[in-house]
Symmetry: C2
Subunit: 334 residues, 2 copies
Amino acid sequence: MSDTTDHKTGRPTLADVAALAEVSRAVVSRALSPSPRPVSADKRERVLRAAEALGYRPNPLARSLTTKRTNLVAVVVNHIHDLSDLDLFDRLLGEIQAIGKQVLLLKVGSVDRVEAFLREGVAHHVDAALVWSDFADAATVRRMFRSDLVVMMNGCHDALSPAVVPDEAVGIREAVADAAAKGVHSAALVTGRASSAIEGERVASYRAAFEAEGIALAAVLQGDYSYASGRAAAAAFQHEATPDAVFCTSDAMAMGVLDACRRFFPDDRPSRFRLYGFDNLSITDHDAYPISSIGFDKAGFVEHIVRFVVHPETFVPGSPPVGVPTRFFPRATG
Amino acid sequence: MSDTTDHKTGRPTLADVAALAEVSRAVVSRALSPSPRPVSADKRERVLRAAEALGYRPNPLARSLTTKRTNLVAVVVNHIHDLSDLDLFDRLLGEIQAIGKQVLLLKVGSVDRVEAFLREGVAHHVDAALVWSDFADAATVRRMFRSDLVVMMNGCHDALSPAVVPDEAVGIREAVADAAAKGVHSAALVTGRASSAIEGERVASYRAAFEAEGIALAAVLQGDYSYASGRAAAAAFQHEATPDAVFCTSDAMAMGVLDACRRFFPDDRPSRFRLYGFDNLSITDHDAYPISSIGFDKAGFVEHIVRFVVHPETFVPGSPPVGVPTRFFPRATG
DNA sequence: CTGTTAGCGCATTCAA
DNA sequence: TTGAATGCGCTAACAG
């Protein structure tokens, strides 16, 4: 008779299954292992039956302690709103679950938060950390999760960690070329947080494209990616001379600009300037915000990330970030 | 000389700290414990210094194995898009992290997925599971995570698990009363998935409110909460007699209805019918979708959930779900 | 193929 | 206050 069950917590352990099936713990471990391991057919059968009878559920934590694999993948963001791209995130979550791992979602909206995590040491070990937050560099994240595998999507990578970033220059060139072809000679740029590495490169790409197409950069307005900041920025167009085109580094800001201008110039049917956004949010497919935008293939993006998680060995230290090409998506405002 | 470091993995363990500080492992454990425990000042000092020198980070998994607390909280959703309410989710994530726990995000878009989790037994032990997905009942979730504490937000609760649900009837009555006060006599209802428990109650609330206000229910159209399904549903209004008002059980569907009607009746300035949404999404504060809606206090909602996580003992088995009152948010379309 | 043994990293008895 | 010993639940290494 097994008397190990209920010794502490009510939940049956592997030892209980072994006792009931009258085999050793090792056999139970092997029979229940996801990977095929040598167990005779009849013992396997007895084990499965016993596990079923007891309602046994393995404890992944205990397993991790010996295997050194937690099947946990951290996703680190500034705020949930970084995932404005819910489509991308939904797909990512699905793929991670499909490879038998689970997502630990962390938001670290400031450098303070990162340091707090480090100090308190509460962050779980994970098999991999996927970083969108730009408040954390690769080295810090490696310490934070004691994981050697961190994939950086925030534009800050180092030699030891792979990175996947949209190659934004391509799409930006296409968008600016589109504007030029339509007779645009002057443009304003509405930007996000200047401190972010990605944003710096993005702005540089716009400047280069304007230069190449002979478009004058009439103004640079500072926003924070949000709808509200887009609206605020658009106030500049109400009184001053409006440029031929306005480029925003996020669709949300472009939506704000669009709404502000609809209010300023209610009867201005053919819009007073061409408007270009960034992100290719799904809402730009709604009638109310038909904003020409720049986006990338989400499936491809996720595929690269997951590949690093599944085959970390394919990463050669020091290699450059994997670029996912962006492209221009023309819509009514462009 | 300590030779325990680097024996397997390079990461220092508690034993390494003990060796360097020249104290026992127990002392290190106590000195580094979050809760105050008896350690002499000088030893504590030596331990902290040694831990710092080694870059020691405790392993939460190993700790969990003995404490039976993982500091993990599962959030279970159908799809990420359930979190249309990103504001709510962002706040929830913040609060959970504030109490020293971390969020494990699971999507189980179908009953199959739930069963797969159960079968594969890969779900981590968690301190609590917060369930939005309506593909999982409380008992199943308890088995899934071997956790006694699951909080149901999907409308399916049982005697053993607490539940927090918006009290939708209040807001619905207010919205319908608003319509009645404005002379609405007939209404159409655009609904989501009929199978969901929440949706069933919601529809019943609308029916009751219509009845109470003497509004005739002209049509019930089936959607799936999405923008696209709202657009499709609106086709019915193009040819048939339009009702005085259209009530949608999600803002996304209301947005679809609005855009479809703008297209059908482009010059119909004073809209042909009043439109009411549900969820009070932040986008309804944008100019383009000024949809009167029904929402609830997100801070209060999250507060209730977190309270159950922190003080599970406050839940009395068998008690009814905690209701968070909703209210009507009038906007231009109402 | 099987069972025994020895840890994984930590918290917690219990004596001292 | 301290340290030695024990065990959490499981897998891996080894010998049969």
